[in-house]
């Protein structure tokens, strides 16, 4: 082909015309809801593998699958596929009443068999459920009419809470056995508000409203969830009108855009905290107490997070079952100086240790630690910052090899103290780096405490002990920013899950 000036011009014009014709439409009438989501969905099985325990994708799962028990936006449980549930008098059995009249997305009836099979499947170690240690506390699952009965192999007071937490989903027995794991990944079905119409890995999922949903047909007939992992790109998506809803953008961008949109900034069940490992200088209570007292949490929230955060002094947020507003730790730099002086430290002779942090994993994580290190320096603490990847944090934490101080964010959408204070501070847990026997002694009996009031009171006492002895540094409860086009009203969920079936037209 001979390329001359004229043909080059023709080619350029054709290219321009082609691209102009292919531009997205920005119609104001929302016939198809488009959501720019912040994470991708690696797997459609919500019960097995790493995705099943990834809190950030539970909203996607909950659009397609139902959990055994429904969790309301305020984290409280409500009847879902199970309408009633409980223990027998002697706590040797659990019983669950299964909702009738529910169908799977393929039209087949949902039955108690599905519930019994789903529970038995994840209790089987060979299935590979990461939460098998919880589901394995129930055994001998059986169906009696529309009831499911299971024997209690070992009593876990939180078993029903797990039924609206990670991996607590009901899968279709007949369909799964027919298509197998691979077939289920290719064409998943649930009983949830939306059905999977099209799924492109790493790109999008297109959902169709389930007209037969037991909770009522969702308002938007079609929902496309685009996986847009870059925060700047998500902002561009919502700003350009390419998406109607997005979440988790920098707070500065949220503030810039919120005037022209429906904007939601809601505290969620995700907290920022600093683990203290009982090694080196952290075995000195004066150092720990000084480290806590020297941090002005509110100032950090106001200046670094534009005010989007809730100061916390225990590992419980106000929505959690064991939250106790009376347990506080004050910002008191003078007390910090005095505590350090009692151990022979001062500004001229600072105590030294390392603090680890992620950088960019959570909003302003590194900047927060920088600010804290600055505050510490003023009272006589010289902390060296080490930046690590979140994967390294998990590995170091599981091996009990974290630095004396390590920043992390802890999610607990079920709101139970066992899954916050419990696993974070109980020495034998792979998630805890505090090994003090006194704390292990306090927490141990609470795992199997059958009296709920006594159990919650016990956890509050543990939190008080932790705060008094500065065994961990709770910092803040995160606020999740969500932006929506004017035509869409979002109901934020305290778990942080962005649920399209809770969205309505304005």
């Amino acid at each position: 082909m001979n390329l001359n000036r004229r043909s080059l011009l023709k080619l350029s014009a054709a290219t321009l015309a082609m691209t102009a014709a292919g531009v997205p439409s920005f119609a104001q009438d929302i016939t198809e809801l488009v959501i720019a989501y912040n994470v991708t969905l690696p797997s459609w099985d919500p019960t097995v593998g790493p995705s099943a325990v990834n809190p950030t994708i539970q909203g996607l799962y909950q659009s397609v699958f139902d959990q055994y028990i429904l969790q309301q936006p305020d984290l409280k449980p409500a009847p879902g596929l199970l309408t009633e549930w409980g223990w027998s008098e002697d706590k040797k059995q659990v019983w669950m009443t299964v909702r009738e009249g529910v169908t799977w997305h393929d039209g087949s009836p949902f039955t108690a068999e599905d519930v019994a099979w789903s529970l038995a499947r994840v209790a089987n170690p060979e299935t590979g459920s990461p939460i098998q240690f919880v589901w394995g506390t129930l055994a001998n699952h059986r169906v009696e009419g529309n009831k499911v009965i299971a024997d209690v192999a070992s009593f876990d007071p939180t078993i029903f809470k797990w039924m609206y937490f990670l991996t607590g989903y009901v899968l279709p027995k007949t369909y799964y056995e027919k298509v197998g794991a691979e077939g289920f990944e290719a064409a998943p079905i649930g009983t949830g508000p939306y059905m999977v119409e099209k799924y492109e890995r790493d790109a999008f999922v297109r959902l169709k409203a389930n007209a037969n949903y037991w909770g009522g047909k969702p308002e938007f007939e079609t929902v496309t969830i685009k996986f847009v992992t870059d925060a700047a790109a998500r902002v561009a998506e919502i700003e350009s009108g390419s998406s109607h809803v997005t979440l988790e953008m920098p707070y500065e961008e949220y503030d810039r855009l919120k005037g022209g949109m429906n904007a939601y900034a809601t505290p969620v069940s995700d907290i920022g905290m600093i683990f203290l490992n009982d090694i080196e200088v952290m075995t000195d209570p004066n150092v720990r107490k000084a480290a806590v007292a020297a941090i002005d949490k509110q100032a950090i929230i106001d200046r670094l997070l534009s005010g989007y955060g809730v100061k916390i002094d225990t590992l419980q947020t106000p929505e959690y079952d064991a939250f106790d507003a009376s347990i506080t730790t004050a910002y008191d730099p003078d007390a910090a100086v005095a505590a350090l002086a009692a151990s022979g430290y001062s500004v001229d002779n600072p105590v030294k240790f390392k603090i680890q942090t992620t950088k960019g994993f959570k909003p302003k994580d590194y900047e927060m630690i920088q600010a804290i290190v600055g505050l510490w320096r003023k009272v006589g603490i010289e902390a060296e910052i080490e930046v690590y990847e979140i994967a390294k944090h998990y590995e170091l934490r599981a091996a009990d090899q974290l630095a004396p101080a390590a920043f992390y964010n802890w999610g607990n959408s079920v709101g139970d103290p066992t899954t916050s204070t419990g696993f974070a501070m109980f020495g034998p847990s792979p998630h805890s780096v505090w090994d003090g026997e006194d704390l292990i002694g306090m927490i141990g009996p609470l795992w199997g405490e059958a009296d709920e009031a006594k159990r919650i009171a016990g956890w509050k006492a543990v939190d008080k002990y932790i705060a008094d002895n500065a065994l961990v540094i709770p910092l803040l409860q995160y606020v999740q920013p969500v932006l929506a086009a004017k035509g869409v009203v979002v109901t934020p969920h305290a778990s942080g899950a962005l649920l399209p079936h809770l969205m309505k037209r304005a």
């Binding site: 082609m18 690696p42 790493p50 990670l166 790493d202 496309t224 350009s240 390419s242 690590y388 847990s429």
Partner: protein, 336 residues
């Protein structure tokens, strides 16, 4: 015969290179901090749970044992199963490869066209303000990394003047009748220009982000090469025969000046494919690069291995093709 010997030699060195890459990647991702089991540990997991999950994913064996098991599988076409997606790695990787190849090729085409046009214009108007302008533009294009170009382009053509799609590869609501994952190619073959337009509209900005720095390199090198050629005797002879300056550049100088640029384009193409990792992320483009980042974040060891091996195959393959093209086009090598 010389060409055949070159091909055979390159195939042997390619095999050795791939084996080396496989060993290095396999070992490195297992010794760096962060393992997939720690990533998926739920609250309350016991040592027994950790051991069970570690065994389930075959990570309880020594690195050598793991490598031998994996290597034996690879030789039979089994690259293992992704830990996060629970799908065969080879199928996942091959499904994403066409998207990255189409993006890279489209970007290369843009870079060659833009860089070539700039070089030809600069040569035609050498020692004028236009050439100076091209040099300055080239310097600017090179001084900004491709992902930053991506963000700038999103802002310009996605937000301020929204004329292109800024995320994804194709509009989700479109029904695709394709049997391969080479969407753009297949849409052209099937004459489904509506889909071609949609695909180009999605691909344009990420491809442009990748193309801008490469276009600048091509422009610089080709212009320099052309300018040197313009002083040679046969070019002067062509001028004295009455050919126009444009014709002299196009017909006489360009065929001889293009060889070093071709080599550079080949080398840079591999860098361009590497650049897709970040660019695909920025534009949420469902290619191999985007998948690679997720695999690394999730410490999905089998998937990381599969992607790296495929990238290595691509790189060595592209280099091989470039070498062969060079040998074919260069008369001294062709007849040597």
């Amino acid at each position: 015969m010389a060409l055949l010997r070159t091909i055979l030699l390159r195939l042997v060195t390619t095999a050795v290179t791939l084996l080396g890459v496989a060993v290095i990647v396999f070992v490195v991702i297992r010794v760096v901090p962060g393992n997939p089991i720690a990533m998926m540990l739920p609250p309350g997991a016991t040592g027994e749970d950790i051991a069970r999950l570690t065994a389930l994913y075959g990570l309880d064996k020594s690195i050598l044992q793991q490598f031998l098991i994996w290597g034996a599988g690879v030789l039979q076409g089994d690259f293992g199963t992704s830990i996060t997606a629970r799908q065969p790695v080879l199928a996942m990787v091959l499904a994403r490869l066409p998207a990255t190849l189409e993006l890279s090729t489209f970007a290369l085409l843009m870079a060659v066209l833009a860089g070539g046009a700039a070089a030809l214009t600069g040569t035609r108007l050498r020692e004028t303000k236009v050439e100076g302008g091209i040099d300055i533009a080239g310097g600017m294009a090179l001084s900004v990394p491709d992902f930053l170009w991506g963000l700038v382009l999103i802002l310009l053509f996605g937000v301020l003047v929204p004329v292109f799609h800024i995320s994804g590869r194709v509009t989700p609501s479109l029904d695709l009748p394709f049997i391969t994952n080479f969407y753009l190619f297949e849409s052209l073959v099937r004459l489904r220009l509506d889909l071609t337009l949609d695909l180009v509209s999605h691909m344009f900005l990420p491809a442009l982000s990748l193309a801008i720095p490469l276009a600048a390199i091509i422009a610089q090198l080709l212009k320099q090469s052309l300018k040197e050629t313009m002083h040679l005797d046969y070019v002067t002879l062509a001028r004295t025969q009455g050919y126009s300056e444009a014709s002299v550049i196009w017909r006489e100088a360009l065929p001889n000046a293009v060889l070093p640029t071709l080599t550079l384009v080949g080398v840079q193409f591999t860098f361009l494919i590497g650049g897709t990792v970040i660019i695909e992320r920025v534009f949420s483009y469902e290619g191999l690069g985007n998948m690679a980042i997720d695999a690394v974040i999730n410490r999905d060891l089998p998937l990381i291995q599969g992607i790296v091996i495929l990238f290595a195959v691509l790189f060595t393959g592209v280099n091989l093709v470039v070498d062969l093209m060079y040998a074919t086009l260069n008369p001294r090598l062709r007849h040597g």
